[in-house]
Amino acid sequence: MYKGKERKGSSSEWRDAFWNPRTHELLGRTASSWGLILLFYLVFYLFLAGMFVLTMYIMLLTLDDYKPTWQDRLATPGMMIHPKGDQLEITFSVSETESWDRFTQTLNTFLSPYNDSYQVQMNDNCPPDQFFIQEDSGEVRNNPKRSCQFNRSMLEECAGISDRFYGYSRGQPCVLIKLNRVIGMLPGKNGQSPYVTCGAKREDGDKLGPLAYYPPNGTFNLMYYPYYGKKAQVNYTQPLVAVKFLNASVNTDINVECKINSNTLEAGSERDKFAGRVSFKLRINHT
């Protein structure tokens, strides 16, 4: 409250505030004043940036190269299908080749690293139904770690060898299911491998028809676990399960849900629709 305060609202005052020609002040500061303050902030922020980089560096030093410090978000691994579009829909017409052509092509690409010849060359033939443990002995890293073969031929009907079109041309499509990689995860015990079961959701039950699983029973064999991370286990081959829909109803939407059955993995929470399960829509058009 300054009684009798006067306010001169002239434009020259504003112009002076921006550039005062008498004192050579830009925004109330002379050139040297600006220089000094900018230099100050330059030094100040260089120091801060330096400190930031330093703390980042120290933080990175504390990390283990082979295993993340925490994995609590990944208690239940996610599941995914192949082939997939944006919306997790497999819709095609048997008679129109181009409608399923892209599915078979993705599958071909996806399965190429699983070719038997390649697998034999790169990976070991491990004893099945037991974990393939490759512990480090103390400080000495047991690297690189070996991986087990997952041969494309193990997918039998869905391997794309005997049937180049994975059953799509005959209205019996194959869908590949994979379990997300999580370092150190042991998905079963007592020699019991986890396996995949698929079923229709709710009212679609009778439309689904019989299913065939490859490898038999839809298991992810224990020998593919544990995973040691991409640095230690360069050639890790992720196991797959193929589901073949033998006689699904045509010209109708079928909501399918596949889930992992394991005696060690926790069931995923309600909120995450892809933890330990995967849902997708199947529609086979046939005229």
Partner: protein, 979 residues
């Protein structure tokens, strides 16, 4: 409008007084009876204006909910609801986020609205309650007795007295008056005073001279009148109800804050819009982009700032009221802090406003009496025979008496009937001799001659205490030189010695000494009248003075002064260290004024006036260099002859100024001169004539006890105890609140940057979002409100009264330095957030370099197998949870830095160690609120430690800044970094 009012009016001014008496059942001599008055009071209600129907409370509340920003938030909330609806219709379960955000936004608006409403409510109440602290009094005659009652108790028919300085308490028909003049400007806008007489001069009640109107001010004279209208039925009451609904004006500080918030909001909306466009551009849905926009606006705008400021000011106003300073408008608190000159009255403000015996001279010695308010000082030697005689003269030759029924009251506080010096003598003798009334009865008074200005003495003749001694005793007091003329002997140690040259000289020296102290000196003498000449029953004639009045025996001198209040010298000293000039402006004699000024420290020890120097150097006054004289006493006469430039010069050249014998008009000239020199002036005043000066001053201070209603109306602040020291307390509080507000604002601004940078980095570098909207809202509204208010309770930095007054034109509340320092220097705690964020990401498997550019994959709902740095695959939900963790981590980092921030904000220039770490206990709710956050997360403790180095860095950096500011005042460092 006049017509309408006239129609409503009665003819009270035209009828005779007898008719008036019968109409209102009253008497112009005795007034109403108390019982009838209370009946009428019950019928008519109290004599006060009903407050105009203000805005209904719900409208006020609604207004809090519908400001510009609030509207924006409402829109955002609606958008969120729509988004939620759309997502739910699509069957997407994760869309609950939008619902939460909408609910949060609404609660933000409602909570801040409630807070704002409550604060407005509270501060209005505080200011309203102050009115009751200084009630208007009126002198009313009821049952033939004169009483002082609260003006709102008056009823129609009451006989009231008004005198110069009073506010007219109701509409009054004048019965008798002497030179009564009334200022009608509050009613008619006419500034010329109107004289009021008992005659009816006009049929229009507004024009007639025998009616004085409610709320006008009596400027001079006295009048008695009968109340004809009270409360809302008075003329002003009718006008007020006709023209009700005058809006509340916003205070300058509120305008400044609002202006600041507007700038910030503009900036926020600009940033928000830019981000909105960018977000749309990189492919976000409209709704999501809108939410970013909102988050930025919410993060940037300090919603609680105005409320905080109002709280701080009203808290201080309340605190001041407890210390006897009632502030009439809130911003006065803040202006008070920038005061650089106080023009103070002497009587009653600097002094106790009671004459007190200060010195005595007898037996050729000056004895000092005890002048303290509570009689705690030293007394003098009372064993001398002369003292007994002197005390007897002082006790007997005194017409003052105590009012009855005051046995329990300490003597200095008792009410006395009599003039100031007689009162002083009465109290003094009561204290030293004891039981004066009884003493006087023992010496029966035969005759007395009261004081008059021609003979300048007062005498009385008494019978003696001893019934056998038939002599009469004549006692006399008066102007010392007159008394000495009549004396032929002098009493020394009980012996009557002839009054020769030597004793005369001793008397002169003593008289000059005491006079030089600015004290009022009285001489005392006595004589035993000759028994033969004046036998018992002698007819003494006070007019003829047919008795001995010369050749008396001189007993001694007693000098009196209105002593300074005990707290004043300290307060003046405090002002001096605080760089505030105290200028004394008084109507008293220059010598008295100077003596008091020297006594309280306004003129410091060793300071000389021009005249002193001239006397010391034995040169004419004209030859003295005026700059050598620190002190200067200017009398009203001199002031009249000075041009305004000369006065400015005098004020500039002499730091210690005393104005004596000044008129109230000259006070205004002095205030204007100080303001011309760029000072913020506080002025005290009590009389009607002080109003212009009080209004002109930046802070007008009225006296609560001695002040007239007119002065109280014109003032910004009222001192309930009339004590100068209270002003200094006010200044201290004003400075404190200014500092604390600055701290509070600086604290509030700081967190805007760490809230904004996550978005900046998110958009520019495409990392997963480090800080979510809800978290920002949580910081703004939950964790940060308490610390920012708690800073208002911060104790003063101990050197607050050692600094020069702030220049209000340069040192604004929110200035560039404060904003820059908060935003660009302390705001860097966003680095802490990013460190913590990248740590949390890296520890889960997402290395910093992978995070860069990750956003599109990270936020793709259809990707359920995004690979981290270790080759693990993540579903969308897993990534989303990780993002929430990041929000928490970033939030924790901001909080850690804000703890550091609140610690550094405790002081602006002192080290926190000097101030004491936890002197303000109220900062702790913050720590408590942190404790309840996200306790379930196992790794939380670790994330608390990551930002700690940054917290320490902030602390250390600010200590270095403060050290530099303290060590090198005026340096580049000080200029750039002191806010």
């Amino acid at each position: 409008m006049n017509l309408a009012i006239c129609l409503l009016l009665q003819d009270d001014h035209e009828i005779t007084i007898e008719e008036l008496e019968t109409r209102y059942n009253t008497s112009v001599t005795k007034g109403l009876t108390s019982t009838f008055a209370s009946q009428v009071l019950e019928r008519d209600g109290p004599n006060e204006l009903k407050p105009p129907k203000g805005t209904p409370e719900y409208v006020k509340f609604a207004r809090q909910l519908a400001g510009g920003l609030q509207c924006l938030m409402w829109v955002a909330a609606v958008i969120c609801f729509i988004a939620f609806g759309i997502e739910v219709a699509r069957g997407n379960v994760t869309a609950f986020d939008n619902l939460y955000l909408a609910i949060t936004l609404i609660s933000v608006v409602v909570v801040t609205g409630c807070f704002g409403y409550y604060q407005e409510f509270k501060s209005t109440n505080i200011i309203a309650s102050f009115k009751n602290l200084v009630p208007q009094q009126a002198i009313v005659i009821r049952d033939g007795q004169k009483n002082q009652i609260n003006a709102h108790q008056l009823v129609v028919g009451d006989l009231v007295e008004i005198k110069g300085g009073d506010r007219v308490p109701a509409d009054i028909r004048i019965i008798s008056g002497q030179a009564c003049k009334v200022d009608n400007s509050s009613l008619t806008g006419e500034s010329e005073p109107q004289s009021k007489t008992p005659e009816c001069t006009h049929e229009n009640p507004l024009e007639t001279k025998n009616i004085a109107f409610f709320s006008t001010t009596c400027l001079e004279g006295v009048a008695t009148g009968v109340i004809i209208n009270t409360g809302d039925r008075t003329i002003i009451g009718r006008i007020a109800s006709l023209a009700s609904g005058v809006g509340n004006e916003k205070t300058p500080i509120a305008i400044e804050i609002e202006h600041f918030v507007d700038i910030i909001a503009g900036l926020a909306i600009f940033f928000g819009f830019t981000f909105f466009v960018v977000a749309m551009f990189i492919g976000y849905a409209f709704l999501e982009a809108m939410i970013f926009f909102m988050a930025i606006v919410v993060a940037y705008v300090p919603e609680g700032l105005l409320a905080t400021v109002t709280v701080c000011l009203s808290l201080t106003a309340k605190r001041l009221a407890r210390k006897n300073c009632v502030v009439k408008n809130l911003e006065a608190v803040e202006t008070l802090g920038s005061t650089s000159v106080i023009c103070s009255d002497k009587t009653g403000t600097l002094t106790q406003n009671r004459m007190t015996v200060a010195h005595l001279w007898f037996d050729n010695h000056v004895h000092a009496a005890d002048t303290t308010e509570d009689q705690s000082g030293q007394s003098f030697d009372q064993s001398s025979e002369t003292w007994r005689s002197l005390a007897r003269v002082a006790s007997l030759c005194n017409r003052a008496t105590f009012r009855p029924d005051q046995e329990g009251v300490p003597i200095p506080k008792r009410l006395v009937v009599g003039d100031a010096s007689e009162t002083a003598l009465l109290k003094f003798t009561e204290l030293t001799v004891g039981n004066i009334m009884d003493y006087r009865n023992r010496f029966k008074k035969v005759v007395e001659v009261p004081f008059n200005s021609t003979n300048k003495f007062q005498l009385s003749i008494h019978e003696l205490e001893d019934p056998l001694d038939l002599r009469y005793l004549l006692v006399m007091k008066g102007a010392p030189e007159r008394i000495l003329e009549r004396c032929s002997t002098i009493l020394i140690k009980g012996q009557e010695l002839p009054l020769d040259e030597q004793w005369s000289e001793a008397f002169q020296t003593a008289y000059m000494d005491l006079g030089g102290l600015g004290e009022r000196v009285l001489g005392f003498c006595h004589i035993y009248l000759n028994e033969k000449e004046f036998p018992r029953g002698y007819a003494f004639d006070p007019d003829e003075m047919n008795f001995t009045t010369s050749g008396l025996c001189f007993a001694g001198l007693i000098s009196m002064i209105d002593p300074p209040r005990a707290t004043v010298p300290d307060a003046v000293m405090k002002c001096r260290t605080a760089g505030i000039r105290v200028v004394m402006v008084t109507g008293d004699h220059p010598i008295t004024a100077r003596a008091i000024a020297a006594n309280v420290g306004i003129i410091s020890e060793g300071s000389e006036t021009v005249e002193d120097i001239a006397q010391r150097k034995r040169i004419p006054v004209e030859q003295v260099n005026k700059r050598d004289a620190r002190a200067c006493v200017i009398s009203g006469g001199q002031l009249k002859d000075m041009s305004s430039e000369e006065l400015d010069d005098a004020l500039r050249n002499h730091p210690e100024m005393v104005f004596a014998r000044t008129s109230p008009q000259q006070k205004l000239i002095i205030v204007e001169s100080c303001q011309r020199l760029g000072s913020i002036v506080a002025v005290t005043g009590d009389g009607v004539n002080d109003s212009p000066a009080l209004k002109k001053a930046d802070i007008g201070v009225a006296m609560g006890i001695a002040g007239s209603d007119a002065a109280k109306n014109a003032a910004d602040m009222i001192l309930l105890d009339d004590n100068f020291a209270s002003i200094v307390t006010g200044v201290e509080q004003g400075r404190l609140i200014f500092d604390n507000l600055k701290k509070s604002i600086a604290y509030t601004l700081t967190k805007n940057i760490p809230e904004l940078t996550p978005y900046l980095i998110y958009i520019t570098v495409s990392v997963p979002l480090p800080l979510g909207c809800i978290t920002i809202l949580f910081i703004e509204l939950a964790t940060d409100i308490f610390p920012s208010v708690s800073l208002a309770y911060e104790k003063a930095e101990s050197d607050i009264m050692h600094l020069k007054p702030r220049n209000p034109r340069q040192h604004r509340l929110v200035n560039e330095a404060l904003a820059v320092y908060s935003y660009f220097q302390i705001g860097r705690c966003s680095f802490a957030g990013f460190t913590d964020y990248f740590t949390a990401m890296a520890q889960e498997g997402w290395y910093p370099l992978l995070c860069v550019g990750l956003r599109s994959q990270w936020e793709n709902v259809h990707l359920q197998d995004v690979q981290d740095s270790y080759g693990q695959e993540w579903t969308f939900s897993q990534r989303l949870y990780q993002e929430y963790t990041c929000y928490t981590v970033f939030f924790v980092s901001i909080e850690i830095c804000q703890i550091s921030d609140v610690l550094i904000r405790k002081t602006r220039r002192l080290s926190v160690f000097q101030q004491g770490f936890f002197r303000s206990v109220k900062t702790h709710p913050k720590h408590a609120s942190l404790g309840i956050m996200y306790l379930n997360s196992t790794q939380l403790v670790q994330w608390w430690f990551v930002p700690v180095p940054y917290g320490i860095l902030i602390f250390v950096y600010d200590e270095i800044r403060k050290l530099g500011v303290r060590r090198y005042p005026g340096s580049w460092w000080d200029q750039e970094l002191y806010y």
